[in-house]
Point group: C2
Chain length 450, copies 2
């Protein structure tokens, strides 16, 4: 059995859904179909999820919702009519959209979660109807009926592990089960959504739950590329990569596949295959626990992200002070902030953060609290900070990677603010100024792939 997940662009129109239908029909093992909400049909189009957010906001502010309701209904109608789905099956979907404001919600965060989740929920119902209409033995399966229970965080829920026992009961399904991605229900039966990349997470959870042999993740690119295609024309496609490589790359900005969505797949050692709905014959990218070594390409991928900032701290005799690091980390923990890296010199310490965790207010508070706790000679935040990551299983035990990388960057006159190699054997991390980041990625790509 395979779990197969389609992203929003694969489900944006009846034309796209034709391709999805063909893909599902092409392999009998594709029994679990996870669907996103309809995405953009063309540049400048609005995703159904964004329409639903608008709808939720207008509802909260008691504004007129007629236009947005119509726009949402139109999207589902176009798809349904494209497959001649009987009106009797479409009407309940439209009614549900219209009635969303009439349901009761604990508060506005639950309202927002429920409105957003209906993009996936109704699309899964529609896709199930389309499949039936096209002669497939398919049915809609709601996350509630599937047994998916999540933590009570409306916009960032986590699966509760006991759900897997419930999901296991759906293993070896004869029918094609069409399941909405992105959301499930808390113990009180309220809708809570996953975070970014939420439908990918659902697919991985279902795959783990039913012990799928493969989790196919259909999107709109032929493969995961070794580098951001907006920086390098026609970059090398990654045919095979390990879970760890994917995690290290997505950490530093690879957005194709959110690393949280890998966790359930890793836990059950399920191979993930990223494929293209528009080009399903392409082999795509396999993500699995191990892969064949390729001595010609020590580097698998190069990522960069500017979403980091750093706190620089200088204190004379810093390295002699027992407890100094712990004091700083306790302050961070009190504010529920995790740090990424903490390179230290003799008298200096840099702490690198995911910028999204911080606000100017919070930065001020941290500087004040750390100053009180350890009385540094100098302390300040820097935001002009990009992290580049060179990742590859084949870098293990190889001599000379740092030499090649640092030389490529030096030849392009790129200043290294930070270099961190040491824990993981399969990655090297470089910190550069934001302005240098793109050029640095290109330089590294040329060195290791051209």
């Amino acid at each position: 059995m395979k779990v197969i997940k389609f992203g929003g662009s694969s489900l944006a129109s009846s034309q796209q859904l034709q391709k999805v239908l063909a893909i599902v029909e092409a392999d009998q093992k594709r029994k679990y179909v996870i669907v996103s909400a309809p995405g953009k049909r063309f540049d400048g189009d609005t995703k159904v999820t964004d329409l639903l957010i608008q709808y939720a906001r207008q509802t909260i502010h008691h504004q007129d919702t007629q236009a947005v309701t119509a726009a949402i209904i139109d999207r589902y109608a176009e798809i349904g009519h494209g497959f001649n789905v009987p009106e009797a099956q479409l009407t309940p979907i439209f009614e549900t959209i219209r009635n969303l404001p009439k349901q009761s919600y604990a508060d506005n965060t639950y309202l927002m979660a429920a409105f957003k989740a209906h993009g996936e929920r109704l699309n899964a119902q529609l896709v199930a109807a389309v499949f039936q209409q096209s002669g497939l033995n398919a049915r809609y399966l709601d996350p509630k009926d599937a047994g998916m229970v999540v933590t009570d965080v409306p916009d960032d829920a986590q699966i509760i592990k006991s759900s897997y026992d419930q999901l296991a009961k759906w293993a070896n399904s004869e029918q094609i089960l069409v399941i909405p991605g992105f959301f499930a229900y808390n113990r009180n039966g309220q809708i809570c959504t996953f975070s970014r990349g939420g439908s990918d997470i659902t697919g991985a959870i279902i795959a783990r739950g039913v012990h799928a042999e493969r989790y196919e993740n259909f999107t709109d690119v032929d493969a995961i590329y070794a580098v951001n295609p907006s920086l390098v024309a026609k970059p090398a496609a990654i045919s095979e990569m390990t879970f760890t490589e994917m995690r290290e790359l997505s950490y530093a900005g690879f957005s194709v596949f959110h690393d949280e969505a890998l966790i359930p797949a890793i836990e059950d050692n399920i191979t993930v295959n990223v494929k293209n709905t528009n080009h399903p014959e392409a082999p795509g990218t396999l993500i699995q626990s191990t892969r064949e070594p390729n001595p010609h390409y020590p580097v698998t991928g190069i990522a960069s992200s500017s979403s980091f900032c750093s706190l620089y701290l200088r204190k004379y005799l810093l390295n002699k002070e027992v407890g100094l690091g712990r004091k700083i980390l306790t302050i961070l923990e009190n504010h529920h902030i995790s740090y990424e890296h903490m390179p230290s010199g003799i008298d200096d310490l840099t702490i690198i953060f995911d910028e999204h965790q911080l606000t100017p207010e919070l930065e001020k508070t941290l500087v004040a609290e750390i100053s009180t706790a350890i009385n540094p000679d100098e302390i300040y935040f820097t935001h002009d900070y990009s992290i580049l990551m060179l990742v590859g299983e084949n870098m293990r035990n190889r001599v000379g990677i740092m030499s090649r990388a640092a030389t490529a960057l030096a030849n392009d006159n790129i200043k290294l603010i930070m270099v961190n190699q040491g824990a993981s054997e399969i990655s090297i991390m470089f910190g550069v100024h934001d302005n240098d980041a793109d050029q640095a990625v290109i330089a590294l790509y040329k060195e290791f792939f051209d």
Copy 2:
């Protein structure tokens, strides 16, 4: 005024002391003379301090101390007789040596501290007598009379800051004051010694206390070299370096000048001049707060040390876990262990320690406690770990240093286990296997100095 400190080899014999005398006479500003205990006169000789340790041990174990007492007395006698110091001045010194066991000590650690300290104490008395005999206006000044009060740790005392107010009273001395290095007294009047390099520390404390214009530190090398002379023949001498450079280098194995001894000098911004007793006309090495940039030599020095070990730790999703680092550091702090560096990957963390802090027993305890606290997937200590440090103020804002260094190492087929650049702008740290360390230093020296 200058504070001038002589190491043990400069005071090992009457012949050596002649040089010391000439150096003190050569500059009227040299009013504060800090002396070590007589050191080795030749390869295979025994330092007086080591004889005193033997003496202390024999006393503690109620063994016969006649031979060792005679050997110690001989050393002072040779120097005294070499300068025709009257027996009336020598006899009290010899008597003090013989009577050491008769004094009362709080316990054996205080006994050991007092025995060891007398190497310096009696030598300072002797040197003062020699200076007087040679016509200098000189006197012995005991740390107690100078006003130096230290914390109550018999073998690792720290100066108590209020001592500086007492020492200030000795500023602008007309007389040459001969002061023993290495020890002072706690508030109860008991002798406590400094740690390694203790006489250097005394010199720096006196220099700060009397606001000396310079602290001259006489030893047996012409200068501090850019690299360990046992690895590279005739290495480049460092004519000028900053306090920070010295600290970074001594951290990673430069033993010429212990970095703790720099602290008082830095606090009062006193230039330190390392010079050679056997070659006083050589300019030596100046250590000061700033220095002239030299664009031809971005690197000032290269150090290496094998006295590090590392704890490797792997846990899936490690970087997502708030509080994990703090938990580990709290455990270290509970055992009074400071860490050096903590490079981290996505799922991995390496903590680098000064090996001297650890025992096999303690390592087991740490592994057990950390395992309980954070349940890692993998955790182990590695001792095959040397740290190399490339240090230079001129590395600041320079592009290409990492490229040159990493390429030099790669060309010699040296595997980098760790690279840490990020906090300090004036150093790069490399972790290599112990076996590769010497070759790595040589490769880096060739790259940056040849």
